[in-house]
Symmetry: C2
Subunit: 133 residues, 2 copies
């Protein structure tokens, strides 16, 4: 099988590349995770997002335990070949392991010395009911 | 000055965090770059995106030479505090150093052994006329 397209990714020293998942319907940026060669190959083959869990040191099929699968409609690579963008359909509408729609739920608010991160998004599902987001 | 909000970012071993820039109007994901503490602080203070150039080892004020400034409307942090999302207004509508609207101009096309990255976006400005995207 032709792996040229995988070889042309600028994998970092750990063999990883950051991957941004964007909801294809809403345009919302859902999460940033990491991929190794195998997770990118599996994602392309299966049409469902598979990442690499740096904390577990293992392939991480998104939604494997939660059902919060991401169907991948498009895979993009940036100009330097060191970042990937997935346009996905977020099944169940929950991408975050905290049970929120997206992982980027903290917004910087305030000015100067009063700046703080404030959670802006509601928890939609009990995070105790799944473990992989 | 209160730096708690900066301290709560999970900076990696190199003191960096990946930052995704999203066009606030179109929703398009424009680029992924990196920030250190100073670039994030400057971005919040100035309201214009400043990244860290890993290749040059220097602060990188987006648009400093090109005029392709990114006005930052919102700064977000993800659940693990290890990725930043900027919602920006992309001045001149060009985010990529190749003169394209966004850096993610390569799309994976084809199936199986015929997969390849194909550039889908037109070059809008002569990349020889600027050097910082």
């Amino acid at each position: 099988m032709n792996k040229d397209w995988i070889d042309s990714v600028a994998w970092n020293a750990d063999g990883l590349v950051p991957a941004v998942a964007q909801d294809a319907a809403s345009g919302e940026v859902l999460m940033l995770a990491w991929m190794n060669r195998e997770s990118l190959a599996r994602t392309a083959e299966s049409g469902e997002a598979t990442y690499w869990s740096r904390s577990r040191g293992a392939l991480w099929k998104k939604g494997e335990t939660s059902g919060h699968v991401q169907r991948v409609l498009e895979i993009r690579l940036d100009c330097d070949a060191d970042a990937v963008l997935l346009r996905v359909e977020s099944v169940a509408g929950i991408a975050c392991h905290t049970g929120r729609r997206r992982c980027f739920f903290n917004r910087l608010e305030g000015e100067g010395g009063a700046r703080r991160w404030a959670a802006t998004d509601p928890v939609l599902a009990d995070p105790g009911s799944f473990r992989d987001g």
